[in-house]
Every structure is written in structure tokens, then in C-alpha cells.
Symmetry: C3
């Protein structure tokens, strides 16, 4: 099943518009190219609106949001909605500051979001309307474990039902939920949290998958999450000697470049809860 969704990305080469933070933007562009998509960045409000019109999907990431890029997010979001393009929100640091929390909540309210991808603390912040995120990493007390999967899965389904967006919660175990189903994914490697941008890259890639698979958004998100997780495992396995997080970043993108549908099917480790 997953194979088809990956191949659709390679075949259709979806053009993804990213309004994203300047920390990991280069990695987002390169991973989009690696997975078969095509990136474009435009964050001036006027430009963003028009550029979204020629793209297939929109990736909104509030990692380094500011007074100029926030209006661009709303403008591009509205255009995407009226064109029927998928929109993904990555609420980086929601809960860590009121500007971030407020902006993410307003985006949820005013833009129809196909999917939201964040760590558990960020997603809880959006569901509760406030939070206490520690920087850009999840609060340890929130972590999704085997024991907490049932309750977190129920929370994700309920939140998805309430707002009508697919909820992607990433961590040691990832959950991908719509209002009726939840997948749990056990791919990935802890080394992914030793580089900046694993989450941002996944968000960009997920947007490409959503764009190339418009009729199967839940499965598109699942496939992207499995794909980057497998690539993280493979990238870690390639590390030797003094290779560290900088090399890991390169290997991760390289693996996305090489991942094919058959390996994906074979190595994907997920279950329907």
C-alpha cells in the first residue's frame, strides 16, 4: 500500500510552497528534492499569495515566525484553501511563547488545515489552547510510550474529529490520526533528535506526500512518517568512526533520495490501533 503513495510523489513531482523557519529551510528544500518533490519558498505576503497559486501544496512552519511572515501564512493559507491545495501546519514551539501559541491557534481557526504535525507538547497546546512547551522539544512527561498509546491515540482521534485535520504526533513512537483511525509507527532513531530539523523536514516531506496523494491524506501522512523513520534508521546504520550529527543529517537526506517503494513496504513498522 505505502509503495504507491511514495511512487506518486516521484511521478508527480509536486511543487510545495514552504513558509518556514530560516534555521532548517535548506534541509527542507533538499529533502523535498530527495523525495521527488520540488520546493519553493516565498514569505512576503503579496508574493506568498501568488506563489501558492502556482503550487500544489503548502507547508506552514512557525519556527521563526515574525510580523512579516505571519500575514504571509494567512494569505497563502487562504489561497491554498480556495485552490483546494493541502495545507500542513508545523506548530514549532507552540506553548513556548504566546506569539507562537496564538498564531498557531489562529491558523487553525482561519485556514482549513489538512494536517498538523508536531511533537506531543505542541499538539497538546493546540488542543488545550495553551501549554508549557520546553523550547522546541517535547516535554518528557508528555512522551508517547507503549503504556500511554491508548490514551494518546484517543486524544488524537478526538482532536482530529473536532478540527477536521489529520493529527501527526511524532516522537519515539509516532501517531497519525484522523477522526476514526490511528496508526502507530515505530520507525526512526533517537539520533534524529541530535540534528536540527528532523521535524521540519518531515513536515515538508509530508506536504509533498499529501499533494501527490489527494484522495488518501491519512495514508499519505503515514507513508511520509514511515519513510523518514526508515531513512533515519538506515542513516544511523551507516555512521562509522567519528561521524556524528552533521554527517547523519547528510545520510538522512541521502537515504530519502534512494528509498524505493519495495524497501519502504518491507521496513515500515506500523500498526492500526
Amino acid at each position: 500500500m505505502l509503495k504507491e503513495y511514495l511512487e506518486n510523489v516521484r511521478e508527480k513531482a509536486p511543487l510545495v510552497h514552504n513558509i518556514t523557519n530560516y534555521v532548517t529551510v535548506n534541509d527542507c528544500a533538499n529533502i523535498l528534492l530527495a523525495c521527488g518533490g520540488s520546493p519553493i519558498m516565498a514569505d512576503d505576503p503579496e508574493d506568498a499569495k501568488e506563489i501558492q497559486g502556482i503550487c500544489g501544496g503548502l507547508n506552514l512552519n512557525i519556527g521563526t515566525l515574525n510580523q512579516r511572515t505571519i500575514p504571509a501564512m494567512f494569505a497563502a493559507g487562504k489561497t491554498a484553501n480556495s485552490c483546494g491545495h493541502p495545507v500542513l501546519l508545523d506548530p514549532v514551539g507552540a506553548g513556548a511563547s504566546s506569539l507562537r501559541t496564538r498564531t498557531a491557534l489562529e491558523l487553525m481557526e482561519k485556514v482549513r488545515l489538512t494536517a498538523i504535525r508536531g511533537n506531543i507538547s505542541e499538539i497538546k497546546t493546540l488542543a488545550l489552547g495553551s501549554g508549557t512547551t520546553k523550547g522546541v522539544d517535547a516535554d518528557l512527561t508528555d512522551a508517547v510510550t507503549d503504556e500511554t498509546i491508548p490514551q494518546t491515540a484517543a486524544f488524537a482521534k478526538e482532536f482530529s474529529a473536532k478540527i477536521g485535520s489529520i493529527i501527526v504526533i511524532t516522537g519515539a513512537i509516532d501517531l497519525i490520526a484522523d477522526s476514526s483511525s490511528v496508526y502507530a509507527v515505530r520507525n526512526g532513531h533517537p539520533m534524529m533528535s541530535r540534528i536540527t530539523g528532523s521535524g521540519c523536514m518531515l513536515s515538508a516531506m509530508t506536504t509533498a506526500y499529501l499533494t501527490a496523494n489527494p484522495d488518501h491524506p491519512l495514508e499519505a501522512c503515514l507513508t511520509a512518517v514511515c519513510a523518514i523513520g526508515i531513512c533515519g534508521e538506515r542513516a544511523f546504520a551507516r555512521l562509522s568512526g567519528h561521524e556524528g550529527n552533521a554527517t547523519f543529517r547528510n545520510y538522512l537526506i541521502d537515504e530519502v533520495c534512494h528509498l524505493d517503494g519495495d524497501s519502504l513496504e518491507q521496513e515500515a513498522n506500523y500498526e492500526l490501533r
Copy 2:
């Protein structure tokens, strides 16, 4: 011949001021260092004007232009003109949005540009005053092929004569034209389009070549185009196993770091049309 232009860059270490997009800016800085130049970035209007005064050349790239950086481009452009510094314009995405097209056209009008480097769709947009660029990549119907070289070469010469700037059109075959001569370059590798920033890096590097070779701007552009193309070929040849686009990016910059004048002469594949 080309050897001398390369060596002038290594010898003079030109300080190049870049007002460029935040997607590929780190790669632009590192490739400038690799080729022997020295990068500086400044995009606040006041700062850009003054910084240009202490630099040797100016690279204007509209990849993520906004209302703050546009005035900086004009301010730095005017300073560069009054100091006699070369100015290169990279009209990223001209034709894809009206802000990009308009800004590029106004820069052409108000700043004396030594060279413009873009893909064929971007350059056609500037020549015609409007266009239909698909994102940041060239429209396939526009592609320069062996069959279309004569007409594209004639177009480039004519456009160069009209505006007084060297026209550099990059793609599978690259064309470098002034009003009387056109070079066609067949170096490079398709892998260069699987990374973000090949074009941006070439623009930054070309500005260094123009700065270090003020009396031979056409040949400076030709040399930079051949150099990055050769490095792309060499970088691709080094790829093995699961190495993909992230590693290719590193190898490309590494090769620029190591390229010497003799190899450049030997491997450059160009012809005067």
C-alpha cells in the same frame, strides 16, 4: 585562457556582497570561500549600502525577496554602480509571481547590471516583460537543446545588446552571451538539479569571477559556468553506494575548493557560436 580567470579569483580573493535568499545562502557563502572569494551578507537597506562600499562586487538574488530586502537591493545596486563594482542579478522565479517579475524588471531599469544569470524561463520573462515560470525551474518547452541553440543564442545576443548586460542562461546546455559573442557550455550534470541552490551558487561564484576579472566580464562568466559544471561532473563521479543529493552538495563545493586552472582548461567543454 580560462586558467588565468580562475587564478585571478584565488589571488585577489574578491569580497562579494550577497543579498540573497535564506534557502541557499550558506551554500553561497561556502562556495565563495571554496573558489577563493570572500562572502559578506547584508540586507538591511542602510547596512547594504555601506557594506557594498567596502566590497568588490554585488550578487542580487530575488529568491526570497521581501519589502525590506527589495530597497536594500536598489540601495546596494546604486552604490555598486557609483563605485564601478560589477553587479549580477539572479532573477529567481521571475515569471512565477508579479512581485518577482516587477522587481527584476525594475532592477534591470535602475541598476546597471554587469550580468544576469537565470534559467531560460526567467530570462525570457525579463526579455518579454512577463512570463509563466513554473516555480523556480525552467519550463520544459523552453529548454535549450542542440536544435534550439541557434535561435536561443540569437535571442540572448539581442537581449544583451538591448540592455547592455551579459546574459547567462543555464540548463543542460548553458549559453553566455554579450551583444557580439555567444558561448555554449556542455559541462555539468543533471544531478545538479536534484539539489537546491546550484543556480544560486553559480551566481555567487560568477560575481566573484566578475570582480576579480573586471576587464573580461564575458570570459569571467564563461569560466565560472565551466568551473561549476566540471565540479558537478566530478562530484557526481565521486558518488557511491547510498550517497544522494545531500552528499552531492558537499562534493560539489569540495570540488570547487580543489579545482585548479590546468584541470579547468582540460575539462572545460565550450564552443564559441
Copy 3:
């Protein structure tokens, strides 16, 4: 001695807020993760103030300052001061433009800075109130050599006494001074100046060291300087064949990822002057 300071960083995982240039920001984030810290970037004035409140330290880098980020630096600086968080200033290009010089001087005046890290030209500019920095590199005539160490060390101590900040001057020989002591460090490799961001990365890393070692700021700075220098030496030793500056950048961060306290003690090459 140094070992303990390194291990404190790995143990406490200090959350460092960076308002830094967009050229090298990704490298700063990855080197912070490599050394054991955790990065967050926020440069909208409102956001920066609040984000600083949840962080442990602040790294201010004026590399691509603009009218929006300058107020963010002051806002975050004041919050850091009132929270008792260490603040480091990296005055990139001070002396090269009046906006940079003026902003750095105002930051010195209005924000209590724990440390300032720059090249000799930038630091002299701050001490004298004006300067003639050539771009972002030190003026050759200013270079710290064995002959000039005594006078530069005296200058650094005096400047430190005057403003109450630790002064870190980096170059072929590095000096780390407070009002009573000066360390000279001879680690590092010239290849570090062939990549963009060596200085920015050190500033980010030094902020992590200051944050994790609040009672020993001078030794924290010394340790960070030795650590990155050793990693530069090791990264250079790993280069082979056509590996150049792009690979060197990755190796440098990789080495920071692997450096342990014992190797640091063994390879640190410093003296108290």
C-alpha cells in the same frame, strides 16, 4: 579542569536562545546539539523576549542584523539580564558599517554582556568606538602573533575591566581575558577560515558553555575555544582526497559531537599569560 566544564554542558543540556544571522544559523543549531546543548531561534521582538524567559542563555550575533531583529536583541538581552542568564555578543562586521558598529556599541551599553567574542578587528572597533574592519575577516595588520601577544593581552584585560565582560579574541592565536587573567589558546587550524561560520558556531557553543557553567565564565569560554580548536584540528586530519571545505564543515561538527573530556584535557593547548 576543562573536562568538568565540557561535561556540565552534556549533563545540563542548556537551552540556548540565538538571535543570529541566517547565513550560518543551521550550523549554529547543529553545533549546539553536537556539544550537548539545545538550540532555539526567535527574532521577532515580542517572541524573543518571551522565548528568552524559558531559555538558559542568549547568543546575540549581528551578522545579518536588520531593523526588525535589532529591537529583538535588546528585548531578549534585557530579559536575559533580569533572569540572570548569560549573554554573549558576537559583533560580526563591527567596524565594517556604521549600523553594525552602532548596534554593537549600544548592545554593550544597554545589555550586561557576559562575554564578547570576535576577531581582533571587531573587538578593537568596540574598544575604540569605531574601526575599519574588512568585511567579516580581521584586518591583517591587527593579527595576534607571538610578538604581539603581550600588548593584545594587556588591551583585552583592560577592555574587560572597563566593560565588565569577558573578551574572547579569536584568530591564529586566541585570547580569553577577564580583568585579571588572560589565556592564550593555540588550538585550531587555518582551514577553519575556509568555511563560513566557524566564529558563529564558536559563539553559539560558548554560550552553551557559559550557561552550563555559571560560576566559571572565564573557564567556560576557555573550554569552548579549546574544544572547537581541537575539533578543527581533528576535522582537518580526517580530510582526504578531494574533500574540501564543505566536508570540513561536517567533520568539524561531527568532532564536536564526539569530543570527550579526557581528549579535551589532553589536546588542549593553552597557557595563562
